[in-house]
Symmetry: C2
Subunit: 530 residues, 2 copies
C-alpha cells in the first residue's frame, strides 16, 4: 500500500505545474502540525515517525506507477516523466521530535525541507501515516490514564481486530495502542510483526460447541509433577460442583471448560458468560480450577464479556476468596478477571470510581477506531520558499499557519514543562532560549496574551531525523512505548486530565510574533464594505 501513488491526485497535477514552471527544485519548508488535540484533551502523542521515515527513504515511482500517472496527465511533456522516474528523497531533510514525544497544537510534528516538488509529493502519505498513528497512540495513552485512575492498576489489552478499519487499520491500531501504553493485543499478526504480547482464550462458540451430552474424547489429566499419576478431570470437576452446591450450571459449558483445561492446564482462563455468569460460568470455572489444583496446576482466571462488570467481578472475587479460604488455597483470591464489552476511557474511569475486581480490561472498537474522534486533523503547510516566508490566509484566524522556518523548544521548570516556544532562527534578534534567562512569550494569535518565562531547562524539540537517508537507528517499539510514559510524567496532571483539562501553552517569540503580524497585514487586503 505504501507507494508514492498513495496520494491525492492534486499532488501530481501540482508537481507537473512546479516542474513546468521550473520551480520544482526551489528550496521549500513544509510544517506538519495539528490545530487541536484530539478527544477533547490537551495533549497528543506523536507517533508514526518510523513508518514515515521508511516511506520517505524508499520513495520512488515504479514503472507501473509512471504508466498510470501518464494516463492521468495525457498532455504533459515526456521529459517530465523522465524526471519523475528518477525522483527520490535524496535531497529531503526531515526534523522531528522522537517518536513518542508528547506534542501540542501548532508545534510542528515534522519539518520537511528540500526541493518543492519532492516535498509536496510527501504531503498526503505523511499525513496518512502520522495522523492515524498519533491518534491511536493518544487514545491508548488516555485509556492508560483512565485505567490507572482511583488507585487502580489494571492491565490493558487491545481486542479490536474485527472492528478495525480494514486489515491495516487493525495492525496499526495494535502497534500504536501498544506504543501509547497498552500491555498486549489479541492480534496475532501484530504479535508476529512487532513482538507485542498476545492474549487470547476462547469465544462463546467454543463453549456452545460442547453439548450437555457431549462425550469428551479424553478427560484424563496427568499430574503436573508426577506424570505417572492421572486424574479424571471431568469426574473430579463434577464432584467439586456437586459438593459446592452449584446446581444450575450448564453441563455443556463444564465439558467445554474441561476440554480446554486438558489443552491448557497451566494457563486455564475461560469465558464465563455464555449461559449465565454467576449461575453457571463462574461455578463451572471454580469446579475445574479445583480439579486442576488437585493435579498440581494453578488456574489463571476468567473473562467477562457482558453484564454489569463491576458487580459480576466483585461477586466472582468474593466467591473465589470464600472458596479459596474454605479449601485453604491461597491463590484463588487472586484469579485474573479480564473484562470486555464495549469499554472506553469513560466506562473504564467510571468502573474504577465505583470499584470492581477486574485485573485486565480488553478494549476493542472504541480504541481501534477512536470512536469518539476517528480522525486527527493534521495538516501540511508550505511555510517558506527560497528563504521567503509563505502565508495562507483564512477567514478563521486560528487556521492561518505560522509562516517561516521555525525552531521549537520546550521550556521546563522543576522537572515540569512550562510551555513550548517557537522561534525564528533566521533572525539575529531571535536567539535560542537559554536556561535562567527571562523570555517574553506571545500567544500566536492574541496580542494581549503574553508571559515572561525563566526556564530552568531548555530542550530543543526537533532533531534531524532524515537527510537523504534515515539518520539514526529506528528505536524499538519498547523504547518508544517507554518514552511515552516517561514524557507523560513531565507535564502537570491538569494538562493530562481526561475531562476539562487545562490547555498547555504554545507560544512564539517576540520576533516571530512581529514577523507573523507584519506578513499577515501585508497579505490580507482590507475589504471595502459598501
Amino acid at each position: 500500500m505504501l507507494c508514492p501513488l498513495l496520494n491525492d491526485m492534486y499532488q501530481i497535477t501540482m508537481t507537473y505545474g512546479y516542474w513546468k514552471t521550473k520551480k520544482h527544485e526551489q528550496h521549500a519548508v513544509f510544517d506538519l502540525f495539528i490545530r487541536k488535540n484530539p478527544f477533547g484533551g490537551e495533549f497528543t502523542v506523536f507517533a508514526g515517525l518510523s513508518e514515515a521515515l521508511c516511506f520517505i527513504s524508499d520513495f520512488h515511482f515504479s514503472t507501473s506507477d509512471l504508466e498510470f500517472v501518464r494516463t492521468k496527465l495525457p498532455n504533459a511533456e515526456e521529459e517530465f516523466f523522465e524526471w519523475l522516474s528518477k525522483l527520490s528523497c535524496e535531497k529531503i531533510k526531515v526534523y522531528a521530535p522522537k517518536e513518542g514525544t508528547i506534542m501540542f497544537p501548532l508545534v510542528p510534528f515534522l519539518r520537511i525541507e528540500g526541493p518543492l516538488a519532492a516535498a509536496q509529493l510527501l504531503e498526503t502519505p505523511l499525513l496518512c501515516l502520522i495522523n492515524f498513528a498519533s491518534l491511536i497512540a493518544t487514545n491508548a495513552a488516555r485509556h492508560r490514564i483512565a485505567a490507572s485512575s482511583a488507585g487502580h492498576k489494571v492491565t490493558l489489552i487491545e481486542f479490536g481486530t474485527r472492528r478495525a478499519q480494514g486489515p491495516d487499520g487493525a495492525i496499526s491500531a495494535s502497534r500504536y495502542s501498544y506504543i501509547g501504553g497498552f500491555d498486549g493485543t489479541s492480534n496475532l499478526l501484530a504479535g508476529k510483526l512487532f513482538g507485542i504480547k498476545t492474549v487470547g482464550t476462547m469465544a462463546h462458540s467454543f463453549v456452545t460447541a460442547f453439548q450437555p451430552e457431549e462425550q469428551l474424547l479424553t478427560t484424563t489429566l496427568a499430574f503436573k509433577d508426577q506424570s505417572d499419576q492421572t486424574l479424571d478431570l471431568l469426574a473430579e470437576s463434577m464432584k467439586n460442583r456437586k459438593e459446592l452446591g452449584f446446581s444450575s450450571a450448564s453441563d455443556g459449558e463444564l465439558k467445554a471448560f474441561v476440554a480446554y483445561a486438558i489443552c491448557y492446564p497451566a494457563t486455564f482462563l475461560v469465558l464465563v458468560d455464555t449461559y449465565n455468569t454467576l449461575g453457571s460460568g463462574v461455578p463451572n470455572f471454580i469446579s475445574v480450577a479445583l480439579g486442576l489444583h488437585k493435579a498440581g496446576y494453578k488456574a489463571l482466571g476468567i473473562r467477562l464479556d457482558s453484564g454489569d462488570l463491576a458487580y459480576l467481578s466483585n461477586q466472582s472475587r468474593k466467591l473465589f476468596r470464600e472458596i479459596g479460604n474454605s479449601k485453604g488455597i491461597e491463590y484463588f483470591k487472586d484469579f485474573e478477571i479480564i473484562a470486555s464489552n464495549d469499554l472506553n476511557e469513560s466506562t473504564i474511569s467510571s468502573l474504577n470510581q465505583q470499584g470492581h475486581s477486574i485485573t485486565s480490561f480488553g478494549v476493542g472498537t472504541h480504541l481501534v477506531t477512536c470512536q469518539s474522534q476517528p480522525a486527527l486533523g493534521g495538516v501540511y503547510k508550505l511555510v517558506e520558499l527560497e528563504g521567503l516566508p509563505r502565508i495562507k490566509l483564512s477567514e478563521e484566524m486560528s487556521k492561518v499557519p505560522i509562516p517561516g522556518l521555525k525552531h521549537p523548544y520546550r521550556l521546563l521548570g522543576d522537572q515540569t514543562s512550562l510551555l513550548d516556544l517557537l522561534i525564528l532562527p533566521s533572525q539575529p534578534s531571535d536567539p535560542p532560549p537559554q536556561p535562567g534567562q527571562k523570555i517574553l512569550c506571545h500567544h500566536p494569535f492574541y496580542r494581549q496574551k503574553r508571559c515572561h518565562v525563566i526556564p530552568k531547562e531548555v530542550q530543543p524539540l526537533h532533531e534531524l531525523v532524515f537527510d537523504g537517508k534515515i539518520v539514526n537507528p529506528i528505536p524499538s517499539i519498547e523504547e518508544t512505548r517507554a518514552l511515552v510514559q516517561e514524557q507523560l510524567k513531565v507535564f502537570r496532571p491538569d494538562h493530562l486530565r481526561l475531562l476539562n483539562p487545562t490547555p498547555y501553552k504554545v507560544s512564539i517569540s517576540h520576533t516571530l510574533f512581529t514577523y507573523f503580524d507584519e506578513l499577515w497585514s501585508q497579505n490580507a487586503p482590507i475589504p471595502e464594505i459598501s
Copy 2:
C-alpha cells in the same frame, strides 16, 4: 496484511482445543450478521465479499506463521502443527447475497459451512473485511441520497486519504465509497488498482508558492486550433482583470493560476480561497478563463474549500453568469464548482435545502472514517454443529443469535420489497415461501408481532459463492456499484430516509419461531431469586 494470523489469538487457542478433542472436523454452520444498521439508518449495503472470498481461497499458514504460532502454544502436540500446516478452506462452503445487496439486521450476510476449526479461524478476518467495507459502502450510499435531495444532482468525490485510518483504510475507503455511489476519488492508488476515476487540481501550497513579484518562466500559450498563433496569457489575464475592475485580487495568485493554465489549458480548475474567495480567487479565475477563451480553450471551474459554501457558490455563479452574458460566452454560466471543507451527509442535505450552485462535493474525513459511527458491529456466531442447533444466551434478548441453518428470502409486492424472511430448511414444515401464497411471518423476538404476507415475488437472498474455491467470477467494481443503486430502488423511500427512517421488517417463519423459542427455554435456566 491478509494472512491467517490477522486473527484474534483465541481463534488459535480454540483451534487447538477443537483439534485435541477431535471436534475440528465436525460440521459447523456459522452466521455472519449485524444486529443494528449503522448511522441511525435502516439499511446496510453488503460489501467486502470479493476480498473475503479471495482471502478464504488463499487461506493457509506459511512456515513463518507456523513458527510464530508454535511460540504461542508451547505445549501443543507436534501433530497439531503438522495438521495446521496443511489446513486450507477446501472443505468450506460460503453462501451470501451478491456484493452490493441491501441488507438488514439478523439476516446473515454470510453463512459459512464446513469443518469447525477451519470455519472458526475465519471469524476475525471475515469480520475485519466485511464490517468496514459494508460500513463505508453504506456511508457512501447515504451521502449519495443526501446529495440527490431537494432536486439536486451533485457529483460526489472522495477526498479522504490523509485522514483515513492508515494506508489500507484509505484504499478501502476509496474502493467502497465508489461502490456505495461516489463518482470518483482523489486517491491515485485507488485509481490505479480499481480503475476509479481520479480527480485533483491544486492545494493552497501551489498558490502560495507564487509571489506577487514572481517571474514566470513562460507566460505564452499557443492557440488551441492554430498552434502557430500564441497569446501572452499573463498579460491577457492582467488586462481582463483591470477591465473588469477587480482591484483587490492577489498578483501571486494570478500568477499561480496562469502557470497552472499553461500546464492544463483544457482542464483549468483552480482553488480560489487562498487569500479571499470573492475578492481575489474568483476574479483571478475569471480573468484567466477569459484569456483561455481567447486562445480557444474552455476553463472548467473552481474549487471552494472554506467559508459559507452556499453563499460563495451562489455569488460565484452569479458572477460567471453576468460576465458570460456581457462577453457573450455561453459556457461561463456552467462552470464547475467543487466544494469541500468538512462535509458530511447532514451538511450536504442542509446545503441542498437552502440552495447553492455547487456541482461537486468533495467529502473527506466524515466519509472515510465514518465519523458518526466508525465501526459496524457485525458478529460471527456458531448456529449449528453436526446438524444440531447451537444457542448462546445473553441478558439482552436481542443479542441472542437465531439458532440453526437458515435460508433467507426477500418477499416483494409490486416491485417493492415487503420484508425478509428466514426459514429452517431442515424442517419439512418449513417449505420455501411461494409467490401468491399467504405466509405467517413472526418478529424474531416478540411473540405478539406477526403479520400475514402474500408476496408477488420471492427472491432467495443467498447463493453458493464458495465451495472449496470461488464459484462465480468476481463481478467488476462497476457492476457492484450499479447493483447498489438498483437495489436502493426496490425499497420504500421511508426505509432509506436518512433521519428517523421506518424500520424494514425482518421476520422468521412460524416453524423457526417455535424452534427458537423451545431451544431458548431449554437452555435458559429459570433463576431462583431469594
